[in-house]
Amino acid sequence: MKIAVLVKQVPDTETKIVINANKNGIDESNIKYIVSPYDEYAIEEAIKIGGETTVISMGPDRCIESIRTALAMGIQKAIHIDTQGKSYDSYQTAAALAKVIKDGGFDLVLTGKQGIDYDNGQVTQMAAELSGASQVMVIDKLTINGDKAKVERRIAGGSKEVYESGFPLFLGCEKGLNTPRYASLPGIMKAKSKPIEKKSADELLGGATALVEFTNFELPPERAAGKRIEGEPPQQAAQLVKLLREEAKVI
C-alpha cells in the first residue's frame, strides 16, 4: 500500500502571537515551529500500517524541519512543496496537494483533522474531492482489511459512526487514534539520508486561484479584570444576582 501523510508546520502551541505591521498576518520572527499535533497521529498511523510511506509538506524552506521530524519517526521519504515566499489559501493548498497525490498514485492519505494554526480544517476534504477519493474526518480508529478500510469516529452524545471504504481514501486523524512515538536518535540520524523531493507550489496549482483573502488580523480583546464579591454568603448571593442582572445582563 502507498501511504501519504500530509504534514503542516505550525507555530508552537505556546507561542505568543504578535500581528505583523501590515495586519495581514502574524510576525514570524522568534516563532518556534512544530509539526501540527494532529498530524503526529497521522504519521504514527502510517508507520504502524507500514508499506511505502511518504510525508508531504507544503510551505517555505523551514518546513523541511518538520519533514525531518516525520522521517526521523520512521516515514520513508518526503516531498516538499515549496511555496517560495508566497502564501496560498486552503483551496490552492488542496489543489497543489491533490496534484501530487494523484501523480504519486497513493492509496491512503492520512492527515491531522485540522492544522492548529488557522484551524480551518478544510484541506483534507478539498484535496480528497479534487483527487476523486473518498474521505472521512475526525477518525479515532482505523483497521485495514485487504482492499477495505474500516474507520470509526465519535459523534455527539457518546456514540460513534462506523464507515467502511475502499481506496483511494483520505482520513483526518483525531486524538485517541494512537500514541505518536518519539523520534529516536538513530531515527534522526537515518532521516538525514532519506530523500526529500522538491516541487514548486506554483507549478502544481494548475491555475487554481485563491478563494479567500486575509484583509485584517486582530488579537482578541484582553480579558477584563474579574470582580471579587466580599461578605457573608447571603450578601454575596444577593450581590451576584444584582451584578448578573444589571452589569452582565444575562438574567
Binding site: K16, N30, E65, R68, T69, A72, Y182, A183, S184, L185, P186, G187, I188, M189, K192
Partner: protein, 601 residues
C-alpha cells in the same frame, strides 16, 4: 589535522588568537538531538517526577529502558559497539537538555558518563563487545564505585581489597563502597580495589556475581529520586578477565574518567541555569506587589540579568571544552588499535579546563538557583513551586565528581606541574610581563565593546593571573601545594580568566558570524551576547584585581616594603574606566522578560 592546544594555554594566548567551538555552530542534527532529548524529558519524565522522587514502582529503571530505546544512552558509544559514535559537542547538547527531572538526569548522566566511559576508554576488545552494547541500549544500567566511607576526596586511600584466588581464575573482592549512584539499580559496576591491599585497580563487577549487594537508599538533601547506596563486596568473585586496564593502574582510569564527568556535570549546569530562567521569568511577570508586576522592580530585573549572564558564560565554557575534547580525539588516527585509550589520554591534557568547568558550572547554577528562589519569595521556598527542589537538587554538584575544593587545588597544581615540565611556558611569560610593567600596558582603557576595551581587559586579566601566580610560586616554591589559601586564589584567578576568555571569544565569533562579509564588526547597541560579555568581563576583571591584591598581601605577609612593590604593579593593571553595568543589565533583563526565559536573539 588541527594543531592541538596545550591545556592551560589560555593563560598565555591573546584572546583574539584562536577560535573555539561555540553553541551557535551546532549543526541541524545536533540541534535535533537536543530537541529529542528535551521532548523526552518534558513529555515522559516530567509527568513522573513525583514517582521518581519517591522511588515508586521501579519508575526510574523503566524510564532508563525507554531512554535506551530512544538512543539517549548510546550517543558517545562507537557504532561498532551498538552506539551512535557521536562527538562531545553532540553529547553536550543532549546533556544540557536532560534536565526536567534532576534526579533522573543524574541517573542518566552517571550511566552514560562515569559508568560507561571506563569500559569504552580502557576496556579490552572482549570487554567492550561484552558490555558496551548492553549499556548503550539500556539493557544494563551502570555505576561507578570509587568512594568509600574512609576514602572520599582521598580516593586512593581505599580499603577494598582484591586477592587472586588459588586457581588464579578470580579476584576475590572484600570491602564496601559508599554513596554509589545507581547503586540499587546497577547491573554492572566499575569497582576500584587494591590488589593485595596495594595495587589500585579497577574491576568490572556484574550485580549477579556472588557476594555483591547493596544497602538501603541514602536519605539525601536533594536528587532524592536518584539511587545512592552502599555497595557491599563480601568475598565477591570477579573473573580475572574482568580486570579493567592494568593491575596497579586504576588511578589512571579513576581520574581520567572524572575529567569527562566534570565537563558533563558542567554541561548539565548549563541546562539548569536556563531552566531556572524559564520558571523564574514568567512568575515575576505575573506576580504583582505594590500594584506592579515585580518584574518591573530593579532588584528582580537584576536577578534575571545575572542568571542570564551565568547561563551564557557557562554555556560558552562547556561548548568550548567539548570542542577541545573533539579536537583531541580528531588528532588520533582512527585506525589505531588503541584509539579509544589514546583519546582519553589526549583529553587528560585538558584536566585544568575540566576542573574549571566543574567548579564554574556548579557555582553558576547554585547562584542562579539561589536568586531564583529569592525572586519567588515565599513561593520560592514552597515545595509547590519548582525552584525549591531545583536549589536542593543542584547542591550536590559542588560535592561529587571531586569536591570544588579538590578541583580548585587541581587547577594551580596541574598548571605548576605543566610549567615545571616546560609544557606551558608560564615561567617564560613572567619576565615579559615584568618588562611591560615597567612602562605600563598600552590598552584601550575606556569605551564600549567595539572600542576593544573589553578585549584588552581579557588579555590583561591573563597577565594579571600569571603575574600574581608567578609571584606566589617564587615565594613558596615547592611548598606552595600546602598553602591552600594561596592555591584557592590562584585557582579563582584562572577560573575567571578562562570564563572571560570563553565568553569574549564566543561573542566575537557570534559577531563575525552575523557579519560574515564585513571586516569591521559593527556592534548593535542591544546585542545580548555583547551586553552579557561586557558586564561579565568588567566585573570579573575588577574581582581579579581584588583577588590579586589579596593574594599578594598574603605573600608579603605584613612586609610593607614588599607589598609596595606588588601594589605598584597592581596599579598598572588597574587602568580601565568603570562602566555603568546597570545599563547593560537592564537591556539583558528586558530581553529575557520579553521572551519568557533565556534567549539570545
Amino acid at each position: 589535522m588541527t594543531q592541538l592546544k596545550m591545556g592551560g594555554a589560555f593563560l598565555l594566548e591573546p584572546v583574539e588568537e584562536t577560535k573555539i567551538f561555540i553553541r551557535e555552530d551546532l549543526n541541524d542534527e545536533q540541534i535535533a538531538f537536543g530537541k529529542a532529548c528535551s521532548d523526552f524529558f518534558e513529555k515522559e519524565v516530567l509527568p513522573k517526577k513525583d514517582a521518581i522522587e519517591k522511588h515508586e514502582n521501579n519508575v526510574s529503571v523503566d524510564l532508563m529502558k525507554k531512554a535506551g530505546e530512544l538512543g539517549f544512552l548510546m550517543v558517545e558509544v562507537p557504532e561498532a559497539y551498538g552506539g551512535l559514535g557521536m562527538d562531545k559537542r553532540t553529547a553536550t547538547v543532549v546533556t544540557e537538555n536532560a534536565i526536567e527531572s534532576v534526579s533522573f538526569g543524574v541517573t542518566v548522566m552517571c550511566h552514560t558518563g562515569i559508568a560507561t566511559l571506563p569500559i569504552l576508554y580502557f576496556g579490552t576488545e572482549e570487554q567492550k563487545q561484552k558490555y558496551l552494547p548492553k549499556l548503550a541500549s539500556g539493557e544494563f544500567i551502570g555505576a561507578y564505585a570509587l568512594t568509600e566511607a574512609g576514602a572520599g576526596s582521598d580516593a586512593l586511600g581505599c580499603k577494598t581489597k582484591a586477592v587472586l584466588s588459588e586457581d588464579k581464575k578470580h579476584y576475590i573482592l572484600n570491602g564496601s563502597k559508599m554513596f554509589i549512584t545507581n547503586g540499587a539499580w546497577a547491573d554492572l559496576l566499575t569497582v576500584f580495589a587494591k590488589v593485595d591491599g596495594e595495587k589500585f585497580t579497577a574491576f568490572l563487577v556484574e550485580k549477579t556475581f556472588p557476594g555483591v549487594s547493596h544497602s538501603v537508599e541514602e536519605k539525601k538533601m536533594g536528587i532524592k529520586g536518584s539511587s545512592t547506596t552502599v555497595i557491599n563486596l563480601d568475598d565477591c568473585k570477579v573473573p580475572v578477565e574482568n580486570v579493567l586496564g592494568e593491575i596497579g593502574k586504576g588511578h589512571k582510569i579513576a581520574f581520567n574518567v572524572l575529567n569527562i564527568g566534570r565537563w558533563k556535570l558542567g554541561a548539565a549546569s548549563v541546562g539548569g541555569c536556563k531552566k531556572i530562567l524559564k520558571h523564574m521569568v514568567p512568575y515575576t511577570k505575573e506576580r504583582c506587589q505594590f500594584g506592579k508586576s515585580i518584574s518591573e522592580f530593579g532588584l528582580i530585573r537584576k536577578k534575571i540579568a545575572d542568571c542570564a549572564i551565568n547561563a551564557y558564560v557557562t554555556e560558552s565554557i562547556m561548548y568550548r571544552i567539548a570542542g577541545l575534547y573533539d579536537d583531541a580525539a580528531a588528532s588520533i588516527d582512527k585506525s589505531d588499535p588503541h584509539y579509544d585509550r589514546k583519546c582519553i589520554e589526549a583529553i587528560e591534557n585538558y584536566a585544568i579546563e575540566a576542573s574549571i568547568a566543574k567548579v564554574f558550572g556548579s557555582e553558576a547554577l547554585w547562584r542562579c538557583a539561589d536568586e531564583g528562589v529569592q525572586a519567588l519569595g515565599g513561593y520560592g521556598f514552597s515545595s509547590e513551586y519548582p525552584l525549591e527542589s531545583i536549589q536542593r537538587d543542584c547542591r550536590i554538584n559542588r560535592i561529587f565528581e571531586g569536591t570544588n575544593e579538590i578541583n580548585r587545588l587541581i587547577i594551580p597544581g596541574t598548571l605548576l606541574k605543566r610549567a615545571m615540565k616546560g609544557e606551558i611556558d608560564l615561567m617564560g611569560e613572567i619576565p615579559k610581563i615584568l618588562g611591560e610593567l615597567k612602562k605600563g600596558f598600552t590598552v584601550q582603557s575606556t569605551g564600549d565593546f567595539s572600542s576593544g576595551a573589553f578585549r584588552d581587559r581579557v588579555n590583561l586579566a591573563k597577565k594579571l593571573a600569571v603575574y600574581a601566580c608567578g609571584v606566589a610560586v617564587q615565594k613558596y616554591m615547592a611548598d606552595i601545594k600546602d598553602q591552600q589559601y594561596v592555591m584557592e586564589k590562584m585557582a579563582n584567578l584562572a577560573i575567571d580568566t578562562f570564563a572571560m576568555d570563553s565568553a569574549m571569544k564566543r561573542t566575537m565569533q557570534i559577531l563575525q558570524k552575523e557579519n560574515t562579509q564585513t571586516e569591521i564588526v559593527p556592534v548593535t547597541k542591544n546585542n545580548i551576547p555583547v551586553c552579557i560579555t561586557q558586564v561579565f568581563v568588567y566585573e570579573a576583571y575588577e574581582r581579579m584585581l581584588m583577588l590579586a591584591k589579596d593574594l599578594l598581601a598574603e605573600v608579603a605577609d605584613g612586609n610593607a616594603e614588599e607589598f609596595a612593590k606588588y601594589n605598584k604593579a597592581l596599579k598598572r593593571f588597574d587602568v580601565f574606566d568603570p562602566i555603568n553595568s546597570t545599563r547593560q543589565r537592564e537591556v539583558i533583563a528586558n530581553h529575557m522578560i520579553l521572551r519568557d526565559g533565556y534567549s539570545l536573539n
